[in-house]
Symmetry: C2
Subunit: 353 residues, 2 copies
């Protein structure tokens, strides 16, 4: 409960790729909305640079020690996307900073809402955020030149806490239904365990209907206009949550419009659901990046730390800019608004509300 | 090359769940189209019963030995969906019969076309079919009550052969582009290897553009009407191929309309891309199941064994029934056509062509 803290420290960490440009727009609006709280000393902003690919490569660590230390001094974090080295890149094989931060700060729940009222879509995804294919994703095994292994991990505790959070959310928001998504017919041990535990916890919520589907058919059902509004709340292992939330966000305007909350018992981090878009940067299109994902993340951050009025205000401004007035359209290319133009527009709209 | 065989033996295996009802419609049309070949002794049909969940449970094997022996006597197989036991079911933990058959007959490539001309969709998915999360999907490890592991496998050979097949297809069909889909930023060892090998093989096809995307953002791009026609041919590890082909099929009318070819060096098996729909059976709706997936699989089978004229004929009849005349509509419920009615309609339409 953040209202009990003397002061809330908000870390702002731009990341790299398109991270800094989209994060700075969100930062600007956030500072505006909380300006009185800052004056009163109730809120403090802490800008954390240094989560760039260059620094991470230099430190040969997913998150350099000094950056991690700074992050741990914050109560909540607004974080821009970060570039992940991968096979064939000129960088060493360090882990994704997103993935590392989720583990280091034990942010076990990745909550991703997708809402498109006129399409009957009002989904909330509870993605398990530290296990599955991600726990040991950087620790695979090359047995020899021909044979490689990766590992998937499911723990009882890890599954219980994400399931409980999802069911509590469903109960408190009268959602009536929770869908558990796995591939337990093939990935039998870990997904089977995940499914079983979620079902067990579901039994403690008799007013909520639980169903379960395989991930493959679920990606089809989201598209089916007659079926998709049956879905309300989803619980998913890490990788399936990653995959399906990008698909789901597309109905709302794309991953550039979708924010997420990464929640743990001690920290909370808010970010875009997408990556750092190195291709946009390489093609000089980063200034056309869409800041809406980070602005939606900011709405979630405000609500999380108890500034619900401010959260509602920003959400209203975003809806106006994105769906109603549409004075600027973001296309990611030079026939659309720049990130800064769109940020100004959201800022002005927020100020007028 | 099937034209060199004295006789082609076609196995027909109904499976269970909705399998038998949809397979029998496909079987009927196939026998009609090849009736002269049967008379000439060039083609023989072999009906293989016994791939039911009851028999598999009794044998405690994914495929009972006698069934496997029969299957191995065939040159090509038309197979209905089969029910896969999973956590919580009253059955032992036997493997999916699909998965087992792909391994036993070394059907390394799962080729899944999705075509919707008026949406600019003309995709062919080359799903690696024996490795990834599937190789050891039934061999996970429960370390103790709290901790479970599953394993993902990638081999060089396994990746090379699917990549080569996809690039050869792209070359022979002037597709111009191949997209490699992985999650190599997280599942670094196996997906990293898969990506690297596909890219290497791509270099042998300089006239073909290769790009690569992560599976999460790819599920969004398929929906994006402005981007999706950029995609032509996909190469994917097993699990991502499983997931994304269900999504892709939705644009074409759902998984009930999509067939697939499971190809190896010695055998080939043709099936629906979906499962046995136990829920439909439980609700008494199996007679309303859509046979189109099995009929599309039949088109692929005919083409594969060299009966291109017959394949084209059936494809034409299906397009007429599904998209043009639409005398019957399949809904999966009692407000739609039954499987048998739709099968009759396709049969009559085929006979008239
Ligand atoms: C960038 C990547 C490591 C990350 C993930 O896979 O979790 C992203 O796709 C996300 O969903 O937040
Ligand atoms: C039924 C299931 C085991 C199967 C798979 O996962 O491969 C199916 O979804 C498919 O795509 O053929």
């Amino acid at each position: 409960d953040y209202t009990k803290l003397n002061k809330i420290v908000i870390g702002v960490c731009g990341g790299d790729g398109i991270g800094p440009v989209i994060t700075s727009e969100a930062h600007r609006v956030l500072e505006y909305l909380l300006r009185d709280e800052v004056k009163k000393g109730r809120v403090e902003f802490k800008v954390i640079d240094g989560l760039t690919i260059e620094n991470r490569v230099k430190a040969n660590k997913a998150i350099p020690d000094d950056v991690l230390e700074e992050l741990k001094k914050c109560d909540v974090i607004l974080k821009g996307p970060t570039t992940t080295p991968r096979a064939g890149d000129p960088w060493p094989n360090i882990e994704s900073a997103n993935v590392a931060m989720r583990k280091e700060l034990d942010l076990f729940a990745n909550v991703r809402p997708v809402k498109v009222p006129d399409k009957g879509i009002d989904w909330t995804f509870f993605r398990e955020n530290t296990e599955g294919a991600y726990t040991l994703g950087s620790c695979g095994l090359n047995v020899d030149d021909d044979l490689a292994f990766d590992f998937t991990v499911t723990t009882s505790q890890g599954t219980e806490r994400i399931a409980r959070l999802a069911y509590e959310y469903a109960r408190n928001n009268n959602k009536g239904k929770v869908s558990i998504i796995t591939k337990a017919n093939v990935v039998k041990t870990t997904d089977g365990k995940f499914l079983r535990i979620c079902q067990e916890i579901g039994k403690e919520y008799p007013e909520i209907v639980t169903d379960d589907w395989y991930i493959d058919i679920t990606t089809a059902k989201l598209i089916d206009e007659k079926r998709r509004s049956d879905f309300k709340v989803f619980i998913l292992p890490n990788l399936y949550g990653d995959i399906i939330t990008d698909e789901a966000a597309e109905f709302q305007g794309g991953v550039g419009t979708a924010g997420s909350a990464n929640l743990g018992n001690h920290y909370a981090m808010f970010e875009a659901i997408h990556g750092s878009a190195p291709r946009m940067v390489a093609e000089g299109r980063d200034k056309y990046a869409d800041p809406c994902s980070m602005l939606r993340a900011t709405v979630m951050l405000l609500s999380h730390i108890g500034y619900q009025k401010e959260a509602d205000k920003l959400e209203r401004a975003l809806d106006k800019c994105m769906y109603e007035e549409k004075k600027y359209v973001i296309t990611g290319r030079d026939n659309g608004a720049t990130c800064k133009e769109f940020g100004d527009y959201v800022m002005e709209t927020t100020q007028k509300l």
